[in-house]
């Protein structure tokens, strides 16, 4: 109960945070590190977003107006890399750092000094990655999927720095994942069995295992690239007996689970938020856990659906098609459960709930286009077109990003001790919602009409939908600045938040005061 912590913390005030810059540089406190992760990821989100604005400006009209194709390719590459590795993944690690110890009643993360390392590697890695923009020959320009041999034989000299940056990000992710697993397995409060863990904790546990399984695969593939570029090997060079398709198999063996790494924690967060604002327990807790597990396992056997046009044998094509379609079953179960949770609840629509509901609707639409993409023969028409761009932005923007916004608003009172400005937050939601749909929905039409992805200029029949899409993107991009204002305003002051600001919320994190004290749960709470 909250009384346990209140008095305890004031008695040991000298255990409080260090003063000045040292508090952050040498931070071992999960809350400080969580905050740093969140601030860093949002900075990267704005940087990657600025690059998306360059892309959408160039595509506003047919013809080349603003940038040359060479720079356009650098922008698409960096946008993808920064959003995946710099914005979405660190944001979820930040949420895990903040919330996992609070939700399981632990005093801190299990490995606090490694936690400090895993964060501080990231700014270094991204400084290195972004610095390639200023190098001779330019930044990586081969797409975030960096297919060989475009990236190995024909890549710019900065490719080597890109490889090093990827290695560093991978090390950071693995350390973060180890920490999450160690914390969840060892530091749960007495009485918190696995099947009593909050879903956010469950999804992060599974995500952490995915990370440990696939980040080394990514490290492997970039190391093979490094060998090909500098040490005369021919892993991906057919001229030397290698195989360019091998690159894709290895890359997507990492890359497909990676998309679930970016979505599963959002599943967890939404499974906390929807019950809270429905004032009703989550429907089908057990089947939700099994569904996440099933999705995670299936994610390892479907990688080649990114490669349906690569010329696989028909048996392989069929295997990957059937497995991919199967993912729709557990995903469907999750969506049905969320809807059933809302059904006959007592709903209210504060900002976290708005983002969570939009998550369910738009993620489901992204899931539908995913199912269409899974049908191999049809994929021959969709593959590498704007239909795919629409699909994965429908999964990642409402899925990952809206999931993060929902979490941020849901837990912001706990972090800052103040209520955020609800009117502004709702404005942020509606403008994001409209902007996002305006930007990405027309892309379905563009893809079906035949527009390939990653082109800096396009045929005239694609002009109108591209213009609409760009307008939507500008709206979505500009709206995110509002979020900065809302958060700063909330941190600086505002209505005091009670320990439990949402009447339907459940969980240990609401038993500690708001803001959550620097040290919590030095005496473990009892879970019944």
């Amino acid at each position: 109960m909250s009384a346990v912590i209140d008095t305890h913390d004031t008695e040991h005030a000298h255990h409080g945070p260090a003063k000045g810059i040292q508090r952050w540089l040498f931070a071992t406190n999960h809350k400080d590190i969580g905050t740093m992760y969140l601030v860093f990821s949002f900075t990267m989100f704005l940087l990657g977003g600025a690059m998306a604005m360059v892309i959408r400006s160039e595509l506003f009209q047919p013809g080349l107006q603003i940038v040359e194709p060479e720079f356009f390719n650098q922008m698409t590459t960096m946008h993808g890399l920064i959003m995946v590795f710099g914005a979405v993944m660190p944001a979820f690690v930040g949420l895990a750092n903040w919330m996992v110890p609070l939700m399981i009643g632990a005093p801190d993360m299990a490995l606090p000094r490694m936690n400090n390392w895993s964060f501080w590697i990231l700014p270094a890695a991204f400084a290195l990655l972004v610095s390639t923009l200023f190098m001779e020959g330019g930044a990586p320009n081969f797409g975030w999927t960096f297919y060989a041999p475009l990236s190995t034989t024909y890549g710019p000299p900065s490719t080597t720095f890109f490889i090093f940056a990827i290695h560093m990000m991978g090390i950071s992710s693995i350390m973060g994942a180890i920490n999450v697993i160690a914390t969840i397995l060892n530091l749960r409060a007495p009485g918190m069995t696995f099947m009593k863990m909050p879903l956010f904790v469950w999804t992060w546990l599974i995500t952490a295992f995915l990370l440990i399984a696939v980040m080394p695969v990514l490290a492997g593939v970039v190391t093979m690239m490094l060998m090909d570029i500098h040490f005369g090997t021919s892993f991906f060079d057919a001229g030397g007996g290698g195989d360019p398709v091998l690159f894709q198999h290895v890359f997507w063996f990492f890359g497909h689970p990676e998309v679930y790494i970016m979505i599963l924690p959002a599943f967890g967060a939404v499974s906390e938020i929807i019950p809270a604002f429905s004032r009703k327990r989550l429907f089908g807790y057990a089947s939700m856990v099994y569904a996440v597990g099933a999705i995670a396992l299936l994610s390892f056997v479907v990688w080649a659906h990114h490669m349906f046009t690569v010329g696989m044998p028909v048996a392989g094509q069929l295997f990957f098609m059937y497995c991919t379609m199967l993912i729709a079953v557990p995903t469907g179960v999750k969506v049905f459960n969320w809807v059933a949770t809302m059904f006959r609840g007592s709903l209210s629509f504060e900002a976290p709930m708005l983002f969570a509901v939009a998550f369910v609707i738009l993620f489901t639409i992204g899931g539908f286009s995913g199912l269409m993409l899974a049908i191999a023969p049809a994929d021959f028409q969709y593959h590498d077109t704007y239909f795919v761009v629409a699909h994965f932005h429908y999964v990642l923007v409402p899925g990952a990003i809206f999931g993060i916004f929902a979490s941020a608003y849901y837990w912001l009172p706990k972090w800052s001790g103040h209520m955020y400005d609800e009117t502004l937050a709702k404005t942020h939601f509606w403008m994001s919602f409209i902007g996002m749909n305006l930007a990405f929905f027309p892309m379905h039409f563009l893809g079906l009409a035949g527009m390939p992805r990653r082109i800096p200029d396009y045929a005239l029949q694609f002009a109108d939908f591209n213009m609409i899409s760009s307008i939507g993107a500008f709206l979505f991009g500009a709206t995110q600045l509002l979020f900065v204002y809302i958060v700063i305003k909330c941190v600086l002051g505002g209505e005091k938040a009670p320990a439990k600001p949402w009447d339907g919320a459940e969980g240990l994190e609401w038993t500690v005061p708001s803001p959550a004290p620097f040290h919590t749960f030095s005496t473990p709470p009892e879970v019944k």
């Binding site: 194709p69 320009n141 081969f142 690569v310 489901t364 191999a376 593959h383 109108d464 609409i468």
Partner: protein, 374 residues
């Protein structure tokens, strides 16, 4: 009807329609002109409608909850939080729907993989950034380059209707014949796509992929490269011209004769002026995309030709670079791509254009000797 509705919607929204004359509000895939593409289209529509129905049901229940079960209306929450039978049911029903989808998908896929008994074989090779088509049985082949002028791309001229979807030499195919495509690439991975044929296949260096099409209606079908292949990925269209058999035969005869004539040109005595004239043309087609028409290049990736050490220095070194390329850079080996005549013309042109004025001239015969000596 749908088009009208879309236009009306856009007008109401007050969106700019400056290019409405050329605009297209196509929102769906089109059925295409081959059996396979029609199968794909019907699969696409089937899945789309299944998704729409599921969406209507799921979102319907959800919106009903959103509207009716509100706290602000004083609705009291129910207490249920699991129901084994419901959960089993909504696992099994989607599974059954998926099986129903997988059956036609499997049949179509098997059909797409059946490349046997083709009437013609065409080898398609992807280059940065153009396509080469070789008619395997008839001993001729040619390159197909984007023909949209730079002035249109840089908005100095009005764009024509087929902006970015036009080439100098389209792939000509006979109607009603099964054509097998053997798809490969010379440098990086490209992907050959013509939506109306329902054909998309990656072109991978070191591999030969197979696919096929039987085009049913004469016409011109346009597509683009769909795998990121570097700087000019967006400027690599595919144009297929389907013609009746007689027309195709006449065209093929003409191509065979032209190929023969081209071979004879190698032994002809060329004058400087002839080489310069042909060189300018060949340079603009093959080299200007990277090194620019005025020879200024795009350093550091693509060095300038104007006044450079290569084009004004030792001729043998220049020859070597053009014929064999420079490994580890974007400079391709043009020895296999271009005829001796074009190679000689380009090298001569590069050594004398833009004030390079070396006065050097290399003949097609010398190129042939150089290649044979290797």
């Amino acid at each position: 009807m749908r088009t009208m509705a879309m236009r009306a919607g856009a007008l109401v929204a007050g969106l700019p329609l400056s290019q409405a004359a050329l605009a297209d509000w196509t929102v769906n895939m089109t059925p295409g002109v081959t059996n396979v593409s029609r199968d794909i289209y019907s699969l696409h529509m089937t899945i789309l409608w299944i998704c729409v129905v599921i969406g209507v049901v799921v979102f319907g229940v959800m919106f009903w909850s959103i509207l009716a079960h509100r706290k602000s209306k004083g609705y009291k929450p129910a207490n249920f939080h699991e129901h084994t039978w419901v959960e089993i049911l909504w696992t099994i029903i989607p599974f059954a729907i998926l099986v129903a989808m997988a059956i036609p998908a499997t049949a179509t896929l098997l059909d797409m993989y059946d490349t046997t008994e083709a009437d013609y074989d065409v080898r398609i090779t992807g280059y940065q950034w153009k396509w080469r088509y070789d008619f395997e049985d008839q001993d001729f082949g040619y390159f197909s380059n984007l023909s949209t002028p730079k002035d249109e791309i840089y908005n100095r001229l009005d764009k024509n209707d087929n902006y970015l979807l036009e080439v100098d030499n389209p792939l000509v195919l006979p109607v009603g014949k099964k054509v097998r495509f053997l798809v490969t690439a010379n440098d990086v991975i490209h992907s050959w796509w013509v939506p109306a044929l329902g054909v998309k296949k990656d072109a991978i260096p070191g591999f030969i992929n197979e696919t096929w099409a039987t085009i049913e209606e004469p016409g011109i079908y346009r597509g683009q490269c769909t795998e990121l292949c570097g700087k000019d990925h967006g400027f690599m269209p595919v144009v297929v011209k389907a013609v009746p058999q007689e027309e195709f035969d006449a065209w093929a005869q003409e191509q065979i004769a032209m190929a023969e004539k081209e071979r004879q040109l190698t032994s002809k005595d060329w004058s400087m002026d002839e080489l310069m004239e042909r060189g300018e043309q060949a340079y603009n087609t093959n080299c200007a995309a990277c090194h620019q028409a005025d020879g200024s290049g795009a350093p550091p990736t693509f060095p300038a030709m104007k006044g450079s050490a290569i084009t004004t220095g030792d001729m043998q070194a220049h020859l070597d670079v053009v014929v064999n390329g420079v490994s580890g850079t974007a400079m391709q080996a043009f020895g296999e791509q271009l005829s001796e005549v074009d190679l000689a013309a380009i090298i001569t042109y590069e050594r004398n254009a833009w004030g390079n004025d070396t006065g050097d001239m290399v003949t097609p015969k010398e190129i042939l000797d150089y290649k044979n000596a290797q």
